[in-house]
Symmetry: C2
Subunit: 565 residues, 2 copies
């Protein structure tokens, strides 16, 4: 029996985004409560389906099962505040069957990895609605079974919760040296961290390249039953175009996050349930995928890993399936990946590593908080541009227009006649009318402006927020690495562990610490570069905006110059 | 027994303006309900006295006489809307004894005119609080006893309500030719209306001059018991400075409105009860008096009348009193003034005059309505500049500042060390911090801006609103003139009146119509001139404002240029 809910407040949904418009006291049929990120799917009495913010709704008792208790941890909904953005929710994969059941059905459903992909957690861009960052870790490894290769019974108990990221990605097994090694690779590292002037950094392997993504094409299969969008992706080093769907990106993302424990693999743009064939959505998603690809392409490690190159270059269907199988069988996933990294021979001082760790953790938390603030502020500011600011200037415009209309009524009494006003009067009226139009236009400029600056800045901040959301798991993994090392040293001091074994563990732990250092240095360097570019872009657009206003006003002013008085 | 009232809403008064701060449900003792313009004087429980908006208050029954019924005609108070501005109220003269009982006491209290001055109606600037225009006529002649010289029993009944402006200013007596004439003047007109290319206009008599007003001085008398402000007024044609107080202006205003029925004598700036020795108030009032003097000085008739010249030039105390007595004994007051105007000999066509009259009336009503709108809009807009807009930009500023603070935490992990971030990182942090300061500064620019444009435009509109408020009485007078003429023609047609008598009445009515035409032509010409100048000024300041923002942003942008990435 369908559950009913009553709207507590008016909600103006973005129709193009699959949201519903509801008025206070509207009663809706709730279709799904587990859409995520504070959204429900519901149906109006007129049969329209779409999303409504959970916080706006009140379940009506007797209409179905009792309402689930509110989720703790999240902020309470602010009455009158903005609803969560639909950009933030994400349906489960298997719900969205349009994007799911096509050529992928013939791949090995039975493989561990493929199953994993279907239980992948939601990708959280880090920004929930109303511009708030979700400070929870992206939890990208939750539900992963990455421990398969490493969980072979030799783990010493007590080091870490075996359900933690550390355990599940094989951290313990790696540190204790119990991960099975691939014959060829373990002795021949593929990736290297070198000590540079800027400290430990990932060594670039191979040549740099860029990737172009364009021409999103709507395609159908199964005699038109299935529709999907295929993006044309062209890496600069091959120049060969490949066609990729969102689900291919999704698969790649899944592989990359499984593989790299200490590397920032930002979440993909969210899936969208409705409106995903609308042009603006497609363009927007393509832009986000482009940024994501750019981010991956500029990473010295990611840009050179097999699965990424396979994604970028494979044009042949059979070849694709083979590469896909290989990637899904990759032994150097999670912590096992540390086996193929070569680091400087200098052993690290644990106390210093811990302080570095602490500093970076503080930095991340502070950056998260300030990004929350700035995103919220510019989100609200953008809304004001589109609504109140526009109206404000248009009110001024209308007032001048109305003044001009009254001045139109100027006539001059003459002896035995009524005369039209002199030219000067009409010129004044026209100039004031023009001033009215000018302020109306300025109102339009205000409404249009966020597209040129604030929305882009928001997108940029959202991207960084996504990147930041990768750190908690990394930090967690690293922290457990350090505590494992410390525990081993303690055991050695208590003669419960051999010196060599403890040293070997410390050496392996250093690889983790070195990769964290390299990744932090990479991130910080990128951050300076990206913020510089984006702030410059933002300020340039702001300048253009105020210049456009000034120019409009100048033209209006010029209309007064030649008024004959 | 004192009456009590309860505050319905919070009210944040301007303390410097004699207003009280009250909170919802505060109970106050009502001191006066007849303060005017929607204000009451009240006392808080802590003994503080001041003004509160009537619409905010609810009388508590049992505490005194029942509340008077609300005044009809005025707009209902908008809950949450702005309270009336204290600039709009005006205490009776005799309440404000500080400004009343000094050297004026020795003038002839017994004279009709002096008594009138004490029952002068409130001067309404035409703009009440919240930027609304009061569309009621200024009623500047109400309470005048100007009919004295003309009410000598010969008025034919039925032409007009004898309490109307028309009757009271001697309109009937003038038209019917029963006004006693001064021997010398009636045959020798002092003022002339000529037919120019622009239609009938007032002929300028004498040379034009300007008036300077400056150096407001706080002076005391009666051994410091009385304090007043004396303004130094210097006409350009004499170059001799005279010292005038607000009450002298008030007296002059009284004389001019008594004298000129068809000439726009705009109201003076309002009296103020509290805070009138504060520097900003004094400067503001001086500025308003200056505008008022300018308006009078540029009027071809007013600028050359004896009382105005006496006000501008008399330096001697005895001389002053003599001139004052003369002015108060002026026989050519009100309608009698039409006796000293010479007009073109062409008789006017009543039908055309009526149409001119109608057109102008429409114009005035339409202009009043659009001025109400525009004043309200810019009043609200100014408030937004000072409050929400400022806060909005400062929120952006603070968000950038907070982002910069988090970026300060950037440190770079090194082998066995923690390093300060490279110069580029600090440069970025500094640039973002500077951007934060920039948006804070822009917020301040917003808050400061209304002083440069919107407030001045409001002042200008208020001045014009004051001028418009003079028209209803003029229009009323003129309308009665026309209907009297039509009535006489009817009587003549019915042979109840001699042809010559009816013609003489028509000739005298033409003088009224000609003066209306001359005044309308004068007003419209001034309007084009004034609006041109004020709109230009306004737009120039708006341009400067947006340029200042652009410039600030440009400087902020330049901080990013040399960031080392």
């Amino acid at each position: 029996m369908a559950q009913k809910a009553r709207a507590l407040y008016d909600f103006e949904g973005e129709l193009g985004n699959g949201e519903l418009n509801v008025l206070e006291n509207d009663v809706l049929t709730v279709i799904r409560q587990d859409v995520g990120d504070g959204w429900w799917e519901a149906e109006t009495s007129s049969g329209q389906r779409g999303l409504v913010p959970e916080a706006w709704m009140e379940l009506i008792s007797g209409g179905g099962p009792p309402a689930p208790p509110p989720q703790s941890g999240g902020p309470p909904p602010q009455s009158g505040g903005p609803p969560p953005q639909s950009g933030g929710y994400n349906y489960d994969d298997d719900w969205d069957d349009d994007e799911d059941d096509d050529d992928w059905d013939d791949s090995e459903r039975g493989s561990v990895q493929q199953q994993n992909a279907h239980h992948r957690p939601r990708k959280d861009s880090g920004l929930n609605g109303s511009g708030n960052f979700d400070l929870q870790p992206a939890n990208r490894t939750a539900g992963k079974k990455g421990g398969d290769a490493t969980g072979k019974g030799t783990v010493k108990k007590g080091f870490a919760n075996r359900f933690s990221v550390f355990a599940k990605t094989g951290g313990e097994a790696y540190l204790l040296g119990t991960t099975p090694k691939s014959r060829s690779m373990s002795d021949n590292p593929l990736y290297r961290i070198i000590d540079s002037e800027e400290g430990p950094v990932w060594d670039y392997v191979g040549e740099g390249f860029t990737v172009e993504i364009k021409n999103p094409k709507k395609a159908t299969k199964l005699k038109g039953m299935k529709t999907f969008i295929a993006y044309q992706v062209t890496p600069s080093n091959t120049g060969i175009q490949v066609s990729r769907r969102y689900k291919h990106f999704d698969w790649l993302y899944e592989r990359l996050t499984a593989k790299f424990v200490t590397i920032v693999v930002p979440p993909l743009p969210d899936k969208q349930v409705t409106g995903r064939y609308e042009e603006t959505f497609i363009e927007k998603r393509m832009d986000q995928l482009k940024k994501w690809l750019f981010r991956m392409t500029t990473h010295p490690v990611v840009s050179n890993c097999d699965v990424f190159l396979h994604f970028l270059t494979c044009t042949d269907d059979k070849e694709w399936k083979r590469g896909k199988r290989d990637a899904e069988k990759d032994e150097f996933l999670g912590a096992a990946f540390f086996q193929v990294i070569e680091v400087p021979t200098t052993p690290l001082d644990i106390a210093i590593v811990e302080r570095q760790h602490e500093n970076f953790n503080k930095f991340v938390k502070s950056m998260e908080a300030s990004m929350t603030q700035i995103s919220q502020v510019i989100h609200e500011h953008s809304k004001k541009h589109v609504g109140p600011f526009k109206r404000e200037y248009q009110k001024i415009g209308n007032a001048f227009t109305s003044l001009a209309s009254s001045f139109e009524l100027d006539t001059r009494p003459r002896i035995n006649d009524i005369d039209a006003p002199p030219e000067g009067s009409q010129q004044l009226t026209d100039a004031i009318k023009f001033t009215g139009t000018t302020y109306n236009d300025i109102g339009e400029l205000f409404a249009a402006q966020p597209r040129n600056d604030f929305y882009l800045l928001e997108d940029f901040l959202r991207e960084y927020s996504g990147m930041l959301s990768c750190f908690p798991d990394m930090v967690h993994f690293h922290k457990h690495t350090i505590s494992t090392v410390k525990e081993c040293q303690k055991q050695r001091e208590e003669q419960k562990m051999e010196f060599d074994e403890a040293e070997a563990i410390k050496t392996r732990a250093d690889v983790v610490s070195y990769s964290m250092m390299a990744e932090i240095n990479h991130f910080q360097r990128q951050r300076v570069c990206d913020y510089k570019a984006n702030m410059q872009y933002f300020l340039r657009e702001q300048i253009k905006f105020y210049e456009a206003i000034t120019e409009k006003l100048r033209i209006a002013l010029s209309r007064y110059e030649n008024i004959d008085v």
